[in-house]
Symmetry: C2
Subunit: 214 residues, 2 copies
DNA sequence: TAGATTGTTAATCGATTAACAATC
DNA sequence: TAGATTGTTAATCGATTAACAATC
């Protein structure tokens, strides 16, 4: 085991790291120099112990009595979250959702670049667009040419598993899936499912459960 | 405490319930009559004990030896998830994401109806559209007239907290938030945040963490 | 009846929180 | 130095899993 080998954090932990990072960006723009675990805890809605525990998992240390340097901490979190380099992503399926993501302004602001969109419908092709929309047959070539590792999948459910396999064989390592089907990911690749129907069902349950307690 | 008062399930549990429900729909269309906890576990990617434990939390019982009746079970899960009635939702903010959700075909198929979209930009108004896009000023009136309880928020981050408060004061009980900011929900209302940037940061971390272990 | 599956209790596991010695 | 905050260990909490008696 190497000295700097780290335990793999879980999803909740990484979501907290994103929140700390966002809070730090705000502090940075306000010219803060130092920050305490207490402040970050408030900003992220967790306990100060949780913050310190999360940092210790990644070997991030501060100064007893002096807290953490905003700049250093920000750099370290950015590196963990891949914000230290431009992340190129392809969007597969240029329907409702795919088209929205292709032009989502929030990505630009956060170091994420949509390299291209892909579809099987010639009516969607727009090779001169910004980003371009290309035939699905050009996916593998485009991914390899630019060494893209991330894909957003926004195809119909019946096509999703097949397109996933195509995508992975082209070299994609991580997929954000919007198709309403729970995809099976082979080892060595990461798939996160966002299912809008499930999210609303969740909301409905908790709305009912909350108002039922009389 | 009432006899049929149930412990509040957590989010993970409800996500599993959605998966069981989806698996049951498939079995139903294949004319299956009975199903065992084992089958549902496979379909949802969990253990059989987990399935039975989840059911017991909701007082759902089967038949020792005979498993569960597909129809009955489906009805019970549908009721918990609000699928026994049409769920009306408003979409606030008709930008990239909002427009995509306004016309997302997956909602129709799953008993979710978009009542209307709302925006402050007159260029977006389209009162005769299907669904209509109306001025934000008409939000409260429209929500009350149709007794809508759910909203999807897809406005810019700087507007999100203010629009959330407007939405809640109009009577909305549950909000699915796409604005990249962690909204504070007052008690008695439920807010679920979907942050695309955070989702991609998660993916990036796990892609790196997976490929780093050499 | 014999056999298979449920429903539930107890054991395990992992994540969060509390506490406090180390130290700046 | 005295005081405040970290880093880490131990305690707590909650969720998942295993096991098995009940029973169809």
């Amino acid at each position: 085991m190497e000295k700097n080998a780290q335990a793999m954090a879980n999803r909740s932990c990484i979501i907290r790291l994103s929140r700390y990072k966002n809070a730090l960006n705000r502090l940075k723009s306000l010219n803060f120099v130092r920050v305490f675990s207490d402040n970050l805890a408030d900003a992220a809605g967790v306990t100060a112990a949780q913050v310190r525990k999360d940092f210790s998992l990644f070997g991030i240390t501060g100064n007893r009595r002096g807290g953490y340097k905003v700049d250093d901490l920000s750099d370290q979190l950015n590196k963990i979250l891949g914000k230290d380099q431009l992340q190129e992503v392809v969007v597969i399926g240029v329907g409702n959702i795919g088209r929205a993501l292709l032009h989502y302004p929030g990505f630009d602001r956060s170091g994420i670049s949509i390299a291209a969109g892909f579809d099987i419908d010639p009516a969607k092709y727009h090779p001169d667009g910004q980003p371009p929309v290309l035939p699905l047959e050009q996916l593998a070539e485009a991914i390899r040419a630019r060494d893209v590792r991330l894909a957003i999948l926004a195809v119909p459910d019946y096509a999703a598993q097949q397109v996933l396999e195509l995508t992975l064989s082209a070299g994609i390592k991580g997929v954000l899936n919007f198709a309403p089907i729970c995809l099976k990911a082979p080892g060595g690749c990461v798939v996160t499912n966002i299912n809008l129907e499930t999210e609303l069902e969740n909301l409905i349950y908790f709305v009912n459960a909350t108002s039922d307690r009389n």
